[in-house]
């Protein structure tokens, strides 16, 4: 047996990570411990520095970016000093940190909020890591009672939408925790398959078997509108629940969150404390949830009091929009997430979302309160739309 040479102290000259697969395996076993196990500051820091070193060494753009900011594995001793990558950069760059010659397992696209907006691409080096990050968080926040429920998905299936990280996620949880009777009720273009959905709902009501509805806020609002128009109301069996996502960014046009939740209560008979908002983004493999089922099973907390929490392998900081310094707890700022599951791309993400840090999570304030830049000079979207419309006509 050959003895390994004595290791110099971490992190000045920590050994290079043996391989991407090895790191994935280590992180995988961390995630396997579930979201109940807290990760203390020094443990998180150790992991974050390992991930930083990997990304620094295997992502040319990120390395140059860090060098430009004077950050190297030798100088960075705290995860808070890892340079944050703006989510907007996913629209311009292939931010893959997977090691020489390794192709990504998947490429997910951001949805974009307008027809002319450039879409972001998240090159996901390891779907295994995505699965192992998303499952425990989903289980504790949607299925804390250990129930196995039919998943009624109001998003396109992963086959229909291979570029959608949300479809992949719901597909994964359906496989892991879904019971007979679930299905995909949105076409590839997002159009709802309302007849099939109606049958599934009626069946649940008839059999008394609870269901889990997974949907974007937009699809839910649309569906509930239809139910209202048709004068339909259901009392879904007790234990039914809803995971809704994406509404906070103001994309549910004309529908407030209060109205949406009220619609769920009145049209589906699912109480408000069984409706859970998931906050996730294509650029990030871990998710945040409102711990309403998990923590307050019997109390009906007001929507205004709700907060989001992430798994132990994610840390979120709230930064001053101007200086990007951390703000005192309780003050609003830009959310910056550090997600270890993003090993294969970039872990530290500067978002465009606003929030306030509270107790052990944050309260989401949405995207860009204060709205558009002012100017009789041009709104970017209008201009690009106009240019595109002209281009389209020319063709």
């Amino acid at each position: 047996m050959v003895l390994a040479p004595a290791m110099p102290p971490f992190p000045e000259a920590a050994p290079a990570e043996p391989s991407f697969d090895r790191l994935v395996a280590d992180l995988d076993s961390l995630f396997q411990q579930g979201v109940g196990e807290e990760l203390d500051e020094s443990a998180f820091n150790g992991w974050a520095l390992r991930v930083f070193r990997w990304q620094f060494e295997h992502n040319t753009a990120f390395r140059g970016y860090c060098l430009g900011r004077g950050a190297t594995p030798a100088t960075v001793t705290s995860w808070e000093d890892v340079p944050a990558v703006p989510t907007g950069a996913f629209k311009r760059l292939r931010l893959l940190s997977a090691g020489e010659g390794r192709e990504p397992d998947a490429v997910f696209h951001t949805s974009g909020t307008s027809r002319t907006e450039q879409r972001g691409e998240h090159f996901v080096a390891s779907l295994r890591l995505y699965r192992s990050a998303l499952l425990p968080a989903f289980r504790i926040h949607l299925l804390p009672d250990g129930a196995l429920l039919p998943v009624l998905a109001l998003v396109p299936s992963p086959q229909d939408a291979p570029r959608s990280s949300l479809s992949y996620m719901i597909g994964t949880v359906s496989e892991a925790f879904g019971a007979e009777g679930g299905g995909w009720f949105a076409a590839a273009d997002g159009a709802l398959k309302t007849e099939g959905l109606l049958r599934a709902i009626e069946e649940a009501v008839d059999t008394g078997a609870p269901v889990l509805i997974a949907a974007t806020a937009f699809a839910l609002a649309h569906w509930l509108d239809g139910l209202t128009r048709d004068g339909l109301r259901f009392a879904l069996p007790e234990g039914s629940r809803v995971m809704e996502t994406g509404g906070f960014k103001g994309r549910v046009r004309g529908v407030s969150r209060d109205d949406l939740y009220h619609g769920i209560v009145t049209r589906l008979g699912i109480p408000m404390n069984r409706v859970v908002n998931e906050y996730g983004m294509t650029e990030m493999l871990s998710q945040f949830y409102e711990p309403v089922l998990h923590r307050f099973q019997d109390s009906d907390t007001g929507l205004g009091d709700r907060l989001h929490v992430g798994p132990p392998w994610v840390r979120t900081r709230v930064l001053d929009p101007e200086s990007l310094e951390r703000v005192p707890d309780g003050e609003p700022g830009i959310l910056c997430h550090h997600d270890l599951a993003n090993l294969g791309s970039v872990a530290c993400l500067l978002t465009e979302d606003m929030g306030v840090a509270v107790a052990d999570g944050f309260r989401l304030l949405g995207r860009f309160p204060g709205a558009e830049p002012r100017g009789c000079s041009l709104a970017i979207e209008e201009l690009l739309d106009a240019a595109q419309a002209r281009g389209a006509k020319a063709r």
Binding site: L93, L350, R374, S377, L384
Partner: protein, 463 residues
């Protein structure tokens, strides 16, 4: 300065007993449809006596007397404007003084006369029939009542619009945007002091949402002509609510750029170019339709885009201190940091990009290849592109041509007409020296048309 600003100036008695509300430091009456109708009727009725008893030259003199007060630092109205502008228009006090100077420069009798002369060969045609070449007689009629809806992004624009309406002899209702309430209100007050009779045909009134929308609908239905400044969506919404017979003069979204030719890129001239450019970018904190979003720099000069970007960055840093911006909105600061850091990453990935950035989100210069012209996210953010030749610029600008307004130029020498023609062909409406970019002369073809003649209707008398 905690007292809110009274955001209206109306003829005596026409707004009695209306409830007042306050928004962003401005107090304004809640105008319902009935009150709006009364006000419009009063303005229309006052017109004959207030405006049409004087000749157009006399009106120019009276209006100029009120306007000139804003150039006098000792004048109480000018002082009030300086005090009120920063908070209400979200600009620094230093910027407020510059903006007032630049705007009020065009409000004097002399400048208004200049405007008349530039646009109307025979201004007397506003007062009577005049003989035209060819023996025909013609007379210009202004709309009896015109509505001017401001955007609020640049203070002073609504006041200028008001003067144009009154000069032509139109009873004028100004609804300024929220950031541009102070100057038209104070100018109307100056008019009430300097020319009380004339002032009876003008009202300035801010309103918003709710009952204000009904008042706006009444104004849109009743006015004989509407002048509108604002985003494409605002203009569209106004157009939809107007009778088809009412002319709309729309100043929609605009974008401006700069084009620096190689002969301006000498050691001697480069600093001056950078000074003028930085000033054009910083003025109005880049919210103006004249504010440059991008700079195209011609190759082949002693210096190039790299040096110009550096010099521009230095000047913007200087202006950051002497002409400071206000604190950016969180959304804007966020956008700027996204842009800057994405540029850093693109550069690290091997793209040819240089980034210069001021403290916080104060100013940003991005030097990058001229693949396409992208609108800036504003707040003193400017993109610099190197182009092989000035004549490449029009092709690059073609996709944004419908929104293109000013092209500030330097160093084009003899080629200026050729380049200007090519720029005009793709949509530009004003080509001017860099130093003149922020404040077009009063007689300019505003977005391509004479600002006075677009208000007029001609009557030909033949035989």
């Amino acid at each position: 300065m905690n007292e809110p600003f009274d955001g209206w100036a109306v003829p005596l008695g026409s707004l009695a007993d209306l409830a007042l509300v306050e928004d962003r430091g401005i107090r304004y009456p809640v105008l319902d449809a009935g009150a709006a109708r009364d006000l419009l009727t009063a303005l229309r009725a006052a017109r004959e006596d207030a405006l049409l008893q004087d000749t157009v030259h006399e009106r120019a003199r009276l209006l100029g007397r009120a306007g000139a007060r804003f150039l006098d630092p000792a004048d109480p109205l000018r002082q009030e404007a300086e005090e009120r502008l920063p908070a209400t228009a979200d600009i620094s006090p230093e910027m407020a003084r510059l903006v007032i100077d630049g705007m009020a420069r065009d409000w004097t009798g002399e400048r208004l006369e200049g405007l008349l002369a530039a646009e109307l060969p025979q201004p007397e045609a506003l007062d009577r029939f005049v003989l035209q070449p060819g023996g025909r007689r013609a007379r210009a009629f202004a709309p009896a009542l015109s509505l001017h809806v401001g955007a609020g992004t640049v203070p002073g624009v609504s006041a200028t619009s008001m003067l144009r309406g009154l000069l032509m002899g139109s009873a004028t209702l100004v609804k300024p945007g929220v950031g541009d309430v102070v100057l038209p209100v104070l100018l109307a007050r100056a008019l009430a002091e300097e020319a009380p009779r004339l002032a009876r045909a003008v009202a300035v009134l801010y309103w918003s949402g709710g009952s204000g929308e009904r008042a706006e609908s009444v104004a849109l239905e009743t006015s004989d002509l509407v002048v509108a400044y604002g985003g494409d969506a605002t203009v569209r919404s106004l157009r939809e609510r107007m009778p088809v017979t009412t002319p709309l003069v729309a100043y929609h979204h605009r974008l401006s750029v700069a084009l620096v030719g190689r002969s301006a890129l000498s050691q001697e001239r480069l600093p001056g170019v950078a000074v003028a450019l930085a000033r054009a970018v910083a003025l109005f904190d880049q919210r103006g339709c004249v504010s440059p979003h991008a700079v195209l720099v011609e190759q082949g000069g002693a210096a190039g885009a790299i040096e110009l970007a550096e010099a521009l960055a230095r000047e913007l840093e200087g202006l950051h201190r002497v002409l400071p911006p206000t604190r950016p909105a969180p959304s804007h600061a966020s956008t700027v940091h996204q842009l800057r850091r994405t540029c850093e990453l693109r550069r690290a990935a091997g793209e040819e990009i240089e980034l210069h950035a001021g403290p916080g989100a104060s100013w940003t210069v991005v030097l990058e290849p001229a693949a396409k012209i992208e609108p800036s996210c504003l707040g003193r953010t400017v993109h610099v592109h190197s182009v092989a030749d000035a004549l490449v610029a029009p092709d690059l600008l073609e996709p944004v041509g419908r929104h293109l307004q000013t092209v500030g130029v330097a160093g084009l020498g003899e080629r200026i007409e050729e380049v200007a023609a090519a720029l005009g062909k793709v949509g530009a409406v004003r080509i001017c020296p860099l130093g003149e970019v922020p404040f077009p002369p009063p007689s300019w073809h505003h977005d391509g048309r004479g600002p006075l003649s677009v208000l007029l209707r001609w009557v030909d008398l033949e035989g």
